[in-house]
Amino acid sequence: MRPGTRTSPVRPDAHGRPTDQRSATERRIRRGHGPGCARLGVGRIRLCRKWPGVSDLSDGSDDHALVSAVLRRDQGALGEIYRRYGGAVWSLSRRVCRDAGLAEEVCQTVFAELWSRPDRFDPSRGRLRPWLLTQAHARAVDAVRSEEARRRRHEREAQLSPPAAVEFESSVQASAIADDVRRAVDQLHPDERDVIQLAYFGGHSYRQTAALLGAPEGTVKSRIRAGLEHLRRALGNEEVTP
């Protein structure tokens, strides 16, 4: 604290507690919150120890209910969505952007747009987490491309980033990944892992991925599909197909 800024007549004593160096009225009020003061009805003080709404949201509300609450301009709901999925949105943005500042910008855009246009999320078309990640991925790819374009203008040289397969290994081995997901990734063929890493976490187009791996473009697409299908089976979320 800067000296002299605390202009209150309530001077802290040696224990940092305020002392009674103030007007009689104020002392009267101050005493008011002591036990037995009827004038201010302090005995009826209703303390609030839990934020209303917030705990309810974090306890049980499903994502659809949260988005509906955002639609009703409930800011607590946006906070709860961020609490649930902000980490994943951040982690994907950071991987694709490979730049913390750019990634923060992406996250900011994703949540600001959810706030502005929550109606764009249609729960009948999928879940909220994948939807947010899809938004983040597209934003991140756009951000990287415009950043690369900007750099290209300066350097007159387009440079593809080197393969980041190692990062994929580390990202899926992160403690944040559930065991079943790690096992599912382990079951993937290395070729499938590489294309998913480069395209999804690396933000590369399938053409760039093909160039980076020295593989035909059609093959890269097939591997992406095979990898995703294997992943789905291994994760056990293969549902009845139409």
């Binding site: 302090v42 003080i45 946006l78 994943a88 992406i224 599909r225």
Partner: protein
């Protein structure tokens, strides 16, 4: 190019799911997705798997504050219902559009609904890449990088003039939060020409006004901590509404106390109180406010409290 026509373009749907198609190819797949439930299902299942593959990592602590600061500047209507004459309007308040005269606290956080939902073809929930690109050109105000110290609303304020008027203004932040103005300088009771206050006359410090309110309070809330120890007071009187931070320690840089009404289903921000160095803070509190609480928040404020309740208490008529 893979299978189009009678068969399902499953390779392209997969490449689309990981965002690896170029724009033209993406549009072709989107056109197919619009009419093919099977491929819609495949896409959703791919995205589910990718979402599970994406690890959760702790985001930078400042990120949420940055998001809050970027929410549209019109997101927070003025905290004071028009009918409320109890609370003194802070200087600079006139720069803001008049709040809707709803007269109840929920208006503080019931932000204007998003603009008319002009649904574009194929947009009903499906995040098509084309739409996302279009959205790039229609980002909400403040969608770009925002510096915590200078959010959109802060830039709009006639800060220079207010400061010139010797009002030590702590503008605040919870940019999307309704009540975002906490005044630690002076106040012009009754809403005079606060945009151009007389620069020569010494204005009574907020402390004097608060003292006057304490001498003849209309209502008082004693905010106590967990151990029932009183830590702060919220007093309302003829001179306005004030928070007295009796016993709350100053916070480190970048942090601030934030006042909330906790009467609703979710906390409603009543403004940021500064970092605790100034113990007298003018606030704007709707008359119907029942229970209030103080949290510790980023200096910019936040739309919903992320920290625990520091102190709370009920507003009692004096």
């Amino acid at each position: 190019m893979s299978t189009f026509g009678t068969e399902h373009p499953l390779d392209d749907v997969a490449a689309y799911a990981v965002g690896a198609l170029d724009e033209v190819e993406a549009r072709i797949v989107e056109a197919h997705l619009a009419v093919c439930g099977f491929c819609q299902f495949e896409l959703a299942a791919h995205r589910d798997a990718l979402a599970r593959l994406t690890p959760d990592e702790p985001a930078p602590p400042a990120l949420w504050a940055r998001i809050v600061a970027s929410l549209p500047a019109d997101a927070g209507p003025a905290p004071r219902p028009a009918a409320d004459t109890r609370s003194a309007p802070p200087p600079g308040d006139t720069a803001r559009p008049a709040p809707p005269a709803a007269g109840r606290p929920p208006t503080l956080r019931r932000l204007p609904p998003p603009g008319p939902a002009e649904r574009r073809p194929g947009e009903d929930g499906e995040p098509l890449e084309r739409d996302r690109r279009e959205d790039d050109r229609t980002r909400p105000p403040g969608g770009g990088p925002a510096h915590l110290a200078g959010g959109p609303r802060q830039r709009q304020r006639p800060l220079g003039r207010v400061l010139q008027a010797a009002a030590a203004l702590v503008v605040v932040a919870g940019l999307a939060v309704g009540a975002t103005l906490a005044l630690t300088g002076d106040d012009d009771d009754g809403g005079g020409d606060v945009a151009q206050p007389p620069a020569t006359e010494p204005v009574p410090p907020v402390q004097q006004l608060a003292q006057a309110a304490l001498d003849d309070p209309t209502s008082l809330a004693v905010l106590a901590g967990e151990d029932q120890q009183p830590l702060a007071r919220l007093v309302t009187g003829d001179t306005g509404a004030f928070v007295v931070l009796d016993d709350l320690p100053p916070l480190p840089a970048g942090r601030a106390y934030q006042l909330w009404s906790v009467d609703e289903a979710a906390p409603v921000s009543l403004g940021v109180l500064g970092n605790g160095e100034r113990t007298w803070v003018a606030v704007t509190v709707p008359e119907s406010t029942g229970t209030v609480a103080i949290s510790e928040a980023p200096a910019t404020g936040e739309v919903a409290p992320t920290g625990p309740i520091v102190a709370s208490g009920a507003v009692q008529p004096a």
